[in-house]
C-alpha cells in the first residue's frame, strides 16, 4: 500500500488504480479512456469510482459521468508540466467537482504541492521517492497569497485578489 497526502494528513491510500485488482466493492481509479469505452459496465461497479486524466484531457468528455465519480486524478508528467494546474482549476470551478481531486505522477513533488493545493487539489499521490512528511510540511511554506485560490487545503491569512 502507498501513503498519500490528503488534506493535511499522510494517510494510507484507500483507492486502487486500474490493474491493481481491488477487492470486491473497493474504490477504483480508471483511466478516462477505459471508462468511456464501456460506461454502462462501470456505472454498475459496486464501489466508489474515480477517473484518471491525462494533463491535456478535455473537460467536455467528462461532464456526463461526473455525478458518478468520487475522485478525479490529474497527471503531472514532470515537475515542469504545468497543464494540470489549469485542469485542476477547471474541474473545480467550471465543472464544480466536489470530490477528491488528486495530483498524480512524476511531477508531484514537495516543491509543487503548495501550488497544487491552491489550484484545488486536496490530495497528492507523490512521485516515487518523495517524502510525504516533507510534502505535508511544504503545504505550510506560505500563509499569504496574491491570487484567489480554489479550495481551502492550505491556510492563507492574507490574500490580495479575490474571485
Amino acid at each position: 500500500m502507498r501513503y498519500i497526502l490528503r488534506r493535511h494528513e499522510v494517510v494510507l491510500d484507500d483507492w486502487y488504480h486500474f490493474g491493481e485488482s481491488p477487492p470486491e466493492g473497493g474504490s477504483l481509479i480508471l483511466p478516462l479512456a477505459e471508462l468511456l469505452k464501456d460506461p454502462l459496465r462501470w456505472r454498475a461497479w459496486p464501489g466508489r469510482l474515480g477517473v484518471r486524466l491525462a494533463p491535456d484531457a478535455s473537460c467536455d468528455a467528462l461532464s456526463a459521468e461526473l455525478p458518478r465519480l468520487g475522485l478525479l486524478a490529474v497527471e503531472f508528467l514532470s515537475s515542469g508540466d504545468g497543464r494540470g494546474y489549469s485542469l485542476g482549476r477547471l474541474l473545480r470551478e467550471r465543472l464544480g467537482f466536489r470530490g477528491e481531486l488528486r495530483a498524480i505522477g512524476a511531477g508531484v513533488r514537495q516543491d509543487q504541492v503548495f501550488l497544487m493545493s491552491r489550484c484545488g487539489f486536496d490530495c497528492m499521490e507523490l512521485a516515487p521517492g518523495e517524502d510525504p512528511e516533507a510534502a505535508r510540511r511544504a503545504l505550510q511554506r506560505y500563509d499569504v497569497a496574491y491570487q484567489p485560490g480554489s479550495g481551502a487545503a492550505v491556510t492563507i491569512r492574507a490574500q490580495r485578489f479575490f474571485a
Binding site: 491535456d56 515537475s79 515542469g80 508540466d81 504545468g82 497543464r83 494546474y85 489549469s86 485542469l87 482549476r89 470551478e93 467550471r94 513533488r109 516543491d111 509543487q112 503548495f114 501550488l115 497544487m116 491552491r118 489550484c119 511554506r141 506560505y142 500563509d143 499569504v144 497569497a145 496574491y146 491570487q147 484567489p148 485560490g149 480554489s150 492574507a158 490574500q159 490580495r160 485578489f161 479575490f162 474571485a163
Partner: protein, 551 residues
C-alpha cells in the same frame, strides 16, 4: 513608488525561507541539479559559463536610492563590485556563489526587492516605459498597472510552470519605449469614447528564433477586466502551448499556428466562461496602488531655455541626454551606461552609491532603469542640470551619446553566458572605438545598433536599425548583420543582408554602411528613413566591399 504592505513583505520573506531550504537540500545532495534547476531559475539564478548569475528584478525599472545603495553593497560583498543592467529592467550579478544566494535574497527583501520569476518558464518581470509619469504625452502612468500585474503574477498557482518564459510590458504613450510589441503580451493604455481607462491587448510578439510582432487581439479591454483577461490568455497558453519542443513553446508559436483570430476566439471564450472565478480587480485596489505613483511634490517653476548658453560639452549633453518633462522647470536626465570602452549596461558599486546619493539630492531619491540599458533621473530641476552634469561627468556617467550609434544594446555574450555563440562586449568596444569622435557621431544622428550573442536575441538584434547576431562557425565567432529593424513607435523586424562576417571585419562593415548613409541621405534624413527610401542594396554592397561576391 510602491511600498510593500505586510502581505508583500511576508511573501518575500517566506519566499527567501523556501529558497534557503531548497538550496540547503541541493547542497546536501537531497535535491538533484535537474530538480533544483526550475526552482533556482524561478529565483533568478542561472548557472553560467564561469559562475552562477543572479538576475534581480527591478519591477518596471523603478528604484529607490536606498535600493540602489543596497545593490551596490551586494555587488561589493558577494560579487566583484559591479552589476549589469539588462533590456528588461533587471540587474545581473555575474559572480555570486551559489551558497550565498539565499543570503543575497534575504538582503534584497530588507529593501523590498527580490529575484522572483526573473527566469524560468513563468511570468517574468513586468516592464514599462522609463518616461512613465513624466512624459508630456501619456494616456496614463503605466506603472500602477505593472505593479498590479506583478502582484497577480507572483507565484501564480496556475501559471508558475508555463510552456516557456512569458514577458509582459505596459506602455501609456504612443512612442513604444518598452518594446511592448515584441513581448508575449503588450498592453497599451487607452481611453474609450467615454473616457474610461483600459488597454489595447497585443499577444504573441517575441524575439529569439522566429521573431514576431504581437497581434492586437482586443482593441479595448476595460481596466476592471485586466486580471480576468490575462488569466484567460495564460490559461489558453498553459493548456495548449507546445511543450514538446523548447523552440516552439513560446505563445507566439501558438498564436501563429491557431491564427490570431482563432486564438482570440479561444481567449474570449475562456474569459467569459472563467470570469466568475478569475481574480477581480476592484476600484479600491487600483486606487490603493495608484496612490503610490502620484506626482512628486514638484516646485512651481517656469521653463528656462538651457539649450543656448553654456560650454559646448554641456550643451551636447543637454541635447542628447535630457528629455522634456511634463512639469515646467524640470527635465528627465539620462545616466549613460555607454561610456566608450566600457561594457554597455555595466555599473560599478561606487557609481551606484554616488548616483543614489545624487538622486536623493536632485530627483526625489528615485532612479529608473531604461530598456536601452541606461539609467534615468526623471525629475531634475532645470536649474540643477549644470551641477548634475558635472557630477555625472565625475562618475563617468555623462557620455553624451543617448540615442546615437554608440548607445548600443548588447547582451553579455560569450564572456558570461553559456548560451552565447560569440562575444558581444569586445565587439561593442570595437564599434565604439570607430565612432569615438563625437562630432562625427552627432552628424550620424539616430542610429540604433543592437547586438545579441546568440539566436535567443537578448540584445534585441532583430529590432535594431543595424542588428548584429553572433554565430559560431568552425569554432570561431562570426556575426550576421540585419538592417531595418525598429522597436520604437513603429515596430519592424530587420532583414539579414547576407553571409556572416568574422569579428575583425564587423566594425569596418558598419562604418562603410554608415558612410553609405551619409552619401545618400537627404537633408535631415535619419539612417532608417534613408534605408527605407533607397532599399538594402547600397548598404549590402558597402558591407561586403571586402567580399564583392557575397553582396
Amino acid at each position: 513608488m510602491y511600498q510593500y504592505d505586510e502581505l508583500d513583505q511576508a511573501f518575500v520573506e517566506q519566499r527567501v525561507a523556501e529558497f534557503r531550504e531548497q538550496t540547503r537540500r541541493h547542497l546536501a545532495g537531497e535535491l538533484s541539479e535537474e530538480e533544483f534547476r526550475p526552482l533556482r531559475l524561478r529565483n533568478g539564478l542561472y548557472l553560467q559559463r564561469h559562475a552562477p548569475m543572479l538576475r534581480i528584478a527591478i519591477p518596471y525599472g523603478l528604484l529607490a536610492a536606498r535600493q540602489l545603495t543596497k545593490l551596490a553593497a551586494i555587488a561589493r560583498r558577494y560579487d566583484r563590485g559591479y552589476g549589469h543592467f539588462t533590456t528588461r529592467q533587471n540587474l545581473q550579478l555575474n559572480w555570486p556563489r551559489l551558497a550565498d544566494v539565499p543570503e543575497i535574497l534575504a538582503e534584497l527583501a530588507t529593501v523590498q526587492m527580490h529575484a522572483i520569476q526573473t527566469s524560468g518558464n513563468c511570468v517574468r518581470n513586468v516592464t514599462a516605459d522609463h518616461l512613465a509619469g513624466v512624459n508630456p504625452e501619456e494616456v496614463d502612468d503605466p506603472r500602477p498597472y505593472c505593479e498590479i500585474i506583478r502582484q497577480w503574477a507572483t507565484l501564480h498557482p496556475e501559471f508558475t510552470y508555463l510552456p516557456r518564459k512569458f514577458k509582459i510590458a505596459v506602455t501609456g504613450s504612443k512612442e513604444d519605449r518598452a518594446a511592448s510589441e515584441v513581448h508575449d503580451i503588450g498592453l497599451h493604455l487607452k481611453r474609450d469614447a467615454d473616457g474610461c481607462l483600459g488597454f489595447t491587448v497585443l499577444v504573441g510578439g517575441g524575439l529569439g528564433r522566429a521573431p514576431m510582432i504581437g497581434h492586437v487581439i482586443r482593441e479595448f479591454l476595460p481596466l476592471a477586466e485586466l486580471l480576468a483577461y490575462l488569466e484567460a490568455i495564460l490559461r489558453v497558453y498553459n493548456r495548449h502551448g507546445r511543450r514538446d519542443n523548447i523552440h516552439k513553446a513560446r505563445i507566439k508559436v501558438l498564436v501563429k499556428s491557431l491564427g490570431p483570430a482563432q486564438f482570440r476566439e479561444q481567449v474570449e471564450r475562456e474569459w467569459h466562461a472563467g470570469r466568475a472565478h478569475a481574480a477581480r480587480l476592484l476600484p479600491e485596489q487600483v486606487e490603493r496602488v495608484r496612490a503610490f505613483f502620484q506626482r512628486q511634490p514638484y516646485e512651481s517653476l517656469t521653463d528656462t531655455d538651457v539649450s543656448q548658453a553654456g560650454e559646448p560639452a554641456f550643451l551636447a549633453w543637454y541635447r542628447y541626454n535630457t528629455r522634456a518633462h511634463r512639469v515646467p522647470g524640470y527635465r528627465a536626465v539620462f545616466v549613460s551606461l555607454k561610456a566608450h570602452g566600457k561594457v554597455p549596461g555595466d555599473m560599478t558599486a561606487q557609481q551606484m552609491e554616488s548616483l543614489a546619493a545624487l538622486a536623493e539630492r536632485v530627483s526625489f531619491g528615485l532612479i529608473r532603469v531604461t530598456h536601452g540599458q541606461n539609467l534615468l533621473l526623471a525629475d531634475v530641476r532645470q536649474s540643477d542640470l549644470h551641477q548634475v552634469w558635472r557630477e555625472l561627468q565625475e562618475l563617468e556617467l555623462a557620455m553624451p551619446n543617448i540615442g546615437t550609434l554608440t548607445d548600443m544594446i548588447a547582451c553579455p555574450g560569450l564572456d558570461f553566458c553559456s548560451l552565447a555563440n560569440a562575444g558581444t562586449l569586445d565587439l561593442a568596444g570595437q564599434i565604439q572605438k570607430r565612432f569615438d569622435d563625437l562630432d562625427y557621431l552627432y552628424d550620424l544622428g539616430d542610429i540604433e545598433i543592437k547586438i545579441s550573442g546568440c539566436m535567443n536575441g537578448c540584445g534585441h538584434h532583430h529590432v535594431g536599425h543595424i542588428g548584429i547576431l553572433g554565430v559560431e562557425k568552425r569554432g570561431e565567432e562570426w556575426y550576421q548583420l540585419t538592417l531595418g529593424g525598429s522597436a520604437n513607435g513603429f515596430t519592424a523586424l530587420g532583414e539579414v543582408i547576407g553571409p556572416s562576417l568574422p569579428k575583425d571585419e564587423v566594425a569596418g562593415a558598419i562604418e562603410r554602411m554608415v558612410e553609405t548613409y551619409r552619401a545618400l541621405r537627404t537633408e535631415g534624413e535619419r539612417f532608417i528613413d534613408t534605408l527605407h527610401r533607397v532599399g538594402l542594396e547600397p548598404f549590402k554592397e558597402s558591407a561586403y566591399a571586402l567580399h564583392p561576391a557575397a553582396a
